[in-house]
């Protein structure tokens, strides 16, 4: 355990001595802020249109969660496509290019301690990133209550949990790509390509028939996170994220371990 924490601590330290953490968090917060503001404007427009047309029935259907927060979180998962490779690319690829991999492999630590230490650090960075948008429902609940509409918190928690779980799974994928490649750029590109594939699967699923459609839908992380974003937390989705992460970590460990036998 001590070794695992030593690795995790080192990784986190490097995230914060370099600009990666600040650039990643800053850019993500800024872009999510832009999305939030644009959703907010649309909400205001809709409110004024319904008011001018005197449609209280439609006005009643408007709420913060469905009109602002869920669409905002949905945009957030697309941003993960760009930010996750940025955060994961260096984990193993940089060790190899800096020759520190040789140091780690000749110190008395196991491959599992190394992989899990890096995973804990990277996954916690991504979870922190996934939690940044919590400020927007907080803003809404502070400044938006005069209209009589309030934020429903349970769907927000569900969305944040699903985003975090998805982020953790992506972290495991990023680590795998970084362990399997020699350079950071390649690691980032491979992670990006695989994530993109996962993202477009639901679109492909819509074009094919039968079993393939179901398989593609099931394999894509997007279909598992979407329900959570709408506030529907299913055990099936949690199992998906946990098992895919575990599988990717086992694979990563095998790759790291294989260096000892080449």
């Amino acid at each position: 355990m001590t070794n695992l924490w030593a690795i995790a601590r080192k990784e986190l330290g490097i995230f914060f001595t370099t600009t990666i953490a600040y650039a990643g968090f800053g850019a993500y917060a800024f872009l999510m802020g832009m999305v939030f503001v644009s959703q907010l404007n649309r909400y205001q427009q809709a409110t004024s249109i319904y008011l001018s047309r005197q449609r209280p029935d439609l006005l009643e259907q408007l709420n913060f969660n469905d009109s602002i927060l869920t669409p905002m979180f949905s945009s957030g998962i697309w941003m993960f496509l760009f930010f996750v490779p940025l955060l994961t690319m260096r984990s193993f690829a940089e060790e190899k290019s800096q020759n520190t991999f040789e140091l780690l492999m000749t110190c008395p630590i196991t491959s599992w301690q190394l992989v899990l230490g890096k995973f804990v650090a990277t996954a916690s960075m991504i979870v922190v990133m996934a939690l940044i948008p919590v400020v927007f429902p907080v803003i809404l609940s502070i400044y938006g209550t005069s209209s009589g509409v309030s934020v429903e918190w349970n769907p927000v928690w569900s969305a944040l949990l699903c985003m975090s779980l998805m982020g953790i799974t992506f972290a495991a994928l990023g680590l795998l790509a970084s362990a399997a490649t020699e350079t950071q750029l390649l690691a980032a590109l491979v992670t990006f390509a695989l994530l993109l594939l996962g993202y477009v699967m639901p679109f492909l699923a819509a074009r094919v028939e039968g079993d393939w459609s179901e398989i593609l839908t099931y394999v894509s992380p997007v279909s598992h996170v979407t329900r959570g974003l709408q506030g529907r937390l299913l055990v099936e989705d949690l199992v998906y994220f946990v098992s895919v992460s575990a599988g990717l970590l086992v694979w990563t460990q095998r790759i790291v371990e294989s260096h000892r036998w080449r």
Partner: protein
């Protein structure tokens, strides 16, 4: 103590080292000599458990590297050929990290880091980012890292590469003082012959993956006139192995 028996490393159709056997006792500082590409780094990487051998056995402190790698790694201080440092860490942060993964307890951590920093001559750059220190300092930070935990066996791959003459002399005197300890075994590779003469009493010379000489420095010099001549004769002769 380092014992190597019939060590061979093959990469597909290329043989990096072939049937190496030698034994280094505690208290010895042995120079591992050979031209570039002779197999020095490969041998050291096998001894430290970084890569496996294709054949043969290697024991460090009486423990087999292949059977019980963790135990061996606890006993060995290793400086790889290319200095393994994190450019985005401070010297202190780096040494503390390595000390932690080498299993040095929290209580002794600070003291141990200060001790090796002092020994390797990097005490005054401890708060600086490794990115911002010179190549010579990076090399000595790598050296300090190898000394953490006061290991019985030190394996140093070209420890004075990139140092200026004053720093070279500092590292050499450090190596001499390390070798003065009766329980410690030091194996250092180099292709700087002056280095061997300054630090080692015994040399193992390899060329083309073979051992071409394993003897006391004085004996080699007596036989060939000088180490330079011995190196030229033995290394060139072995450059084209029969098989």
């Amino acid at each position: 103590m380092i014992e190597v028996e019939g060590l061979t490393k093959r990469y597909r159709d290329h043989v990096a080292v072939r049937d190496l056997s030698f034994r280094i006792e505690p208290g010895e500082v042995v120079g591992f000599l050979g031209p570039n590409g002779a197999g020095k780094s490969t041998t050291m990487r096998i001894l430290t458990g970084f890569i496996p051998a294709s054949e043969g056995t290697a024991k460090v402190g009486g423990v087999d590297v292949f059977d019980r790698p963790m135990e061996v790694k606890r006993r060995v201080g290793y400086l790889p050929e290319l200095t393994p440092v994190y450019l985005d860490m401070t010297v202190r942060g780096y040494l503390r990290f390595v000390a932690r993964i080498k299993g040095i307890g929290r209580k002794d951590l600070g003291r141990e880091v200060d001790r090796v920093a002092e020994a390797a001559g990097v005490a005054h750059v401890l708060p600086r980012l490794i990115r911002n220190v010179s190549k010579g300092y990076r090399q000595r930070v790598g050296m300090a890292q190898a000394l953490l935990g006061d290991p019985d066996v030190l394996i140093l791959d070209e420890p004075t590469v990139g140092l200026d003459p004053i720093q070279i002399e500092q590292v050499r005197s450090l190596l001499r003082s390390l070798g003065g300890d009766r329980r410690r075994t030091v194996l250092m590779s180099t292709h700087i012959l002056g280095e061997v003469e300054a630090v080692c009493k015994r040399i193992i010379m390899i060329a083309g993956g073979h051992i071409v000489a394993d003897a006391a420095l004085d004996d080699i010099e007596a036989e060939h006139g000088s180490l330079e001549r011995a190196f030229a004769t033995l290394a060139v002769a072995a450059r084209r192995p029969a098989a």
